[in-house]
C-alpha cells in the first residue's frame, strides 16, 4: 500500500477492465474507483510535501535499465488537479449519457483516459512517455468519436492523425537522444545533457511533436473542432487535462531536463508563439457562434499564457523570483484546468436544456438555469484572470516577472488577452441575461450542476485564497527550480 504512484495508475486501469467485463455496474465502478484514485493522489501529494520528490523503480531495476515512476511538486499538483477534475466529471458523466449503450461504451474508455493521464504525469522515462502519449491520444480520440455524428467523426479522424504525427515526431527526438546519450531516464539524462547540437536537434523534434499535441499556435487548428464536438464530459477532460499534460512534458523538458540547452532565442520564440495563441485564440473565441466552440478557442488562448512563462522563467536568475514565476505558471495551469472543465460541463447542461449551444440564442438562460449561468460566470472570471480566482494571482506574477526580467513586451499581450477574455465571457453572459420564458429553480440538474460548481469554486475561491499553500509546496519540493 506504500506506493500511491502505482495505485493511481493501476486503479483506473483495473476499473477500465472491470467496467468492460461487467457493463451493467459500470457507473458504480467508475465512481468508486475514481474516488479511491483521488484519495491516493492526495496521499501522494502528502508524501511529496513531507518527503520531497518520490521515486518508484519499477521491477526493482535501477532507473536507466528499468523505468522509474517519479513525482515532484509539479507532477503531484497536476495529478491532484487532474483527479479532482476527473472525479467531478465522472459524477457528471454518470448523469449525462442518456443512451444506455453509449454509457456502456463510455466507461472503459473514460477510465483508460484517466490511466493515461496519471501514467504520463508520473512517467520518468522518455520512451515510456511516448507510450503514455499514444494511450492518451487513442483513448481521447475514441471518446471524442462517442458523439457519433459526422462532424465529431471528422474531427476525431483529424485529431487521431495529428496526434499520431505528434507522437512520431516526439519519438524521433527520443531516438536521437538514445543515439547520443544511450539514456532514456529523464533524471539521468538531465545530469548528462550538454548544450550541444544533438541535444538541440532532439529537443526541437520533441518540442515540435508536443507542440502539435498541446495545440500551441499555429498548431492549434485541430483543437476547436475536436473539443467542441465531443460529448461535454469528454470535452471537459480534453480541454482541461489532455492538452495540459502534453504541455507538462514540454515544461519538464524545457525547464528541468534540457535547461542547459535552452537559449534565450528559443525561449523567446516559444513565448512569441504563446503570445500569438493568446491573441488569436481569444479573438476566435470572441467570434465563435457556439458556446463549446468558444470554450475550445479559449483553451488555445489560455495555453498560450503558459508558454509565455517559459521565456520569463528562463530569463530570471535562479532564486526566489524564478521560483515565484514558476509557481505562478503551475497556479495558472491548475486554475485553467478547473475553470475550463466547469465551463464545458455547464455548456453541456445548456445544450441539454436548450437543445443547442448557439450563443446568440441563449436569451433567458439566466432565468431558466441560474446556477449554470453562475458557474459560467465563475469560470469566466477565472479565464479573464479576475480576483478572487487563482489566475488573478498568476497573472499578477506573470506581469511582475515580465517587469523583473525586463521583458515588458508581454504586458500588452496579457492586457489584450484579458480584455478579449472579458469580452467573450460577458458576451455569453449578456445573451444569457436576455429575456426568456420560464423561470427555473436555482438548482435544476443537481447531478450535473453540482460537479460543475465544485470545479468552478476550486478555480475561483480555493485556488485564489489558498494559493499560498501552493507556493510552499512548489518551492520546497520542486526538482528544478534553483538548480
Amino acid at each position: 500500500m506504500n506506493n500511491p504512484m502505482v495505485w493511481v495508475i493501476m486503479l483506473p486501469l483495473l476499473a477500465s477492465l472491470i467496467t468492460l467485463a461487467w457493463p451493467r455496474r459500470a457507473h458504480w465502478i467508475g465512481l468508486l474507483f475514481s474516488v479511491i484514485t483521488l484519495a491516493f493522489s492526495m496521499v501522494l501529494v502528502y508524501q511529496v510535501f513531507n518527503g520531497g520528490p518520490q521515486t518508484h523503480e519499477l521491477g526493482n531495476w535501477n532507473a536507466g535499465l528499468g523505468i522509474a515512476l517519479r513525482a515532484d511538486a509539479l507532477s503531484a499538483s497536476l495529478l491532484v488537479m487532474a483527479m479532482l477534475v476527473f472525479t467531478a466529471t465522472t459524477f457528471y458523466a454518470d448523469a449525462y449519457f442518456s443512451d444506455v449503450n453509449k454509457r456502456m461504451r463510455f466507461w472503459p474508455l473514460w477510465l483508460m483516459l484517466s490511466t493515461a493521464i496519471n501514467a504520463l504525469l508520473l512517467s520518468g522515462d522518455l520512451f515510456n512517455l511516448y507510450v503514455t502519449l499514444e494511450l492518451l491520444g487513442l483513448s481521447a480520440v475514441a471518446l471524442t468519436a462517442l458523439s457519433d455524428n459526422r462532424a465529431a467523426l471528422q474531427a476525431s479522424i483529424r485529431y487521431l492523425s495529428i496526434g499520431l504525427l505528434g507522437s512520431l515526431v516526439f519519438l524521433a527526438g527520443v531516438a536521437l537522444i538514445y543515439t547520443g546519450y544511450g539514456i532514456l531516464d529523464l533524471e539521468l539524462l538531465a545530469q548528462r545533457i550538454q548544450a550541444e547540437p544533438l541535444a538541440q536537434v532532439a529537443l526541437t523534434l520533441m518540442s515540435a511533436g508536443l507542440i502539435i499535441k498541446s495545440a500551441l499556435f499555429p498548431m492549434h487548428f485541430w483543437l476547436p473542432a475536436a473539443h467542441a464536438s465531443a460529448p461535454a464530459p469528454v470535452s471537459a477532460a480534453l480541454s482541461a487535462l489532455v492538452v495540459k499534460v502534453s504541455l507538462y512534458i514540454i515544461l519538464r523538458l524545457w525547464i528541468d531536463v534540457f535547461d542547459v540547452v535552452i537559449t534565450p532565442a528559443s525561449a523567446l520564440l516559444i513565448g512569441i508563439l504563446g503570445a500569438a495563441a493568446v491573441i488569436w485564440g481569444s479573438w476566435q473565441a470572441l467570434r465563435a457562434e457556439r458556446l463549446k466552440l468558444l470554450a475550445a478557442y479559449s483553451t488555445v488562448a489560455q495555453l498560450g499564457y503558459l508558454f509565455i512563462f517559459i521565456p520569463l522563467i528562463t530569463g530570471l536568475p535562479e532564486g526566489q523570483l524564478r521560483e515565484t514565476a514558476f509557481t505562478a505558471l503551475v497556479l495558472l495551469a491548475l486554475t485553467h484546468g478547473f475553470a475550463k472543465s466547469a465551463l464545458f460541463l455547464s455548456a453541456g447542461v445548456v445544450q441539454h436544456r436548450a437543445g443547442h449551444d448557439r450563443i446568440a440564442d441563449l436569451a433567458g438562460t439566466s432565468r431558466a438555469l441560474p446556477l449554470t449561468t453562475f458557474i459560467i460566470a465563475l469560470s469566466g472570471v477565472a479565464l479573464i484572470g479576475l480576483p478572487p480566482s487563482g489566475s488573478f494571482i498568476a497573472k499578477w506574477q506573470l506581469l511582475a516577472a515580465s517587469i523583473h526580467s525586463a521583458q515588458w513586451w508581454w504586458i500588452p499581450v496579457v492586457a489584450t488577452g484579458s480584455i478579449l477574455a472579458a469580452a467573450y465571457t460577458f458576451r455569453v453572459l449578456g445573451h444569457a441575461f436576455g429575456p426568456g420564458d420560464s423561470a427555473g429553480k436555482v438548482l435544476n440538474w443537481g447531478r450535473e450542476e453540482i460537479p460543475a460548481l465544485t470545479l468552478a469554486l476550486f478555480a475561483t475561491v480555493v485556488l485564489g485564497l489558498g494559493s499560498a499553500g501552493l507556493w510552499d509546496f512548489i518551492s520546497n519540493n520542486s526538482q528544478f527550480i534553483g538548480g
Binding site: 468519436a145 476525431s156 504525427l165
Partner: protein, 94 residues
Amino acid sequence: MISEQLLFALCGIGIFSIGLRATLIHQQLLSRLLALNVCGAGVFLIFIAIAYRGETQIADPVPHALVLTGIVVAVSAMAMALALRHKLKDLNDE
C-alpha cells in the same frame, strides 16, 4: 561499424522525411495513414540502426524492444483509424 549505423540511420531519416512530407500533403485519410506508418518505420529504422553493433556483437536489445512496442502501437492506431473511417463512410452513405 559506424558506417553501417550511419547508413541505415540516414536511410531511416529519409524514410521518416518521405512519410512526414506525405502526411502533411495528403488530405485523404488512407493515404495519410500509410504515410504515417512509413514515417513511423523511419523512426524505427533509426533505432535499429544504432542498435547494431557489428557482426560479432549482439545488438543492443533495448531499441529492439522499443521498436517492437512501437510496431504494436502503430498497428493498434491503424486499426482504430480504419474503424473511424468505416464509420464515417457509413454515415456518409446514409
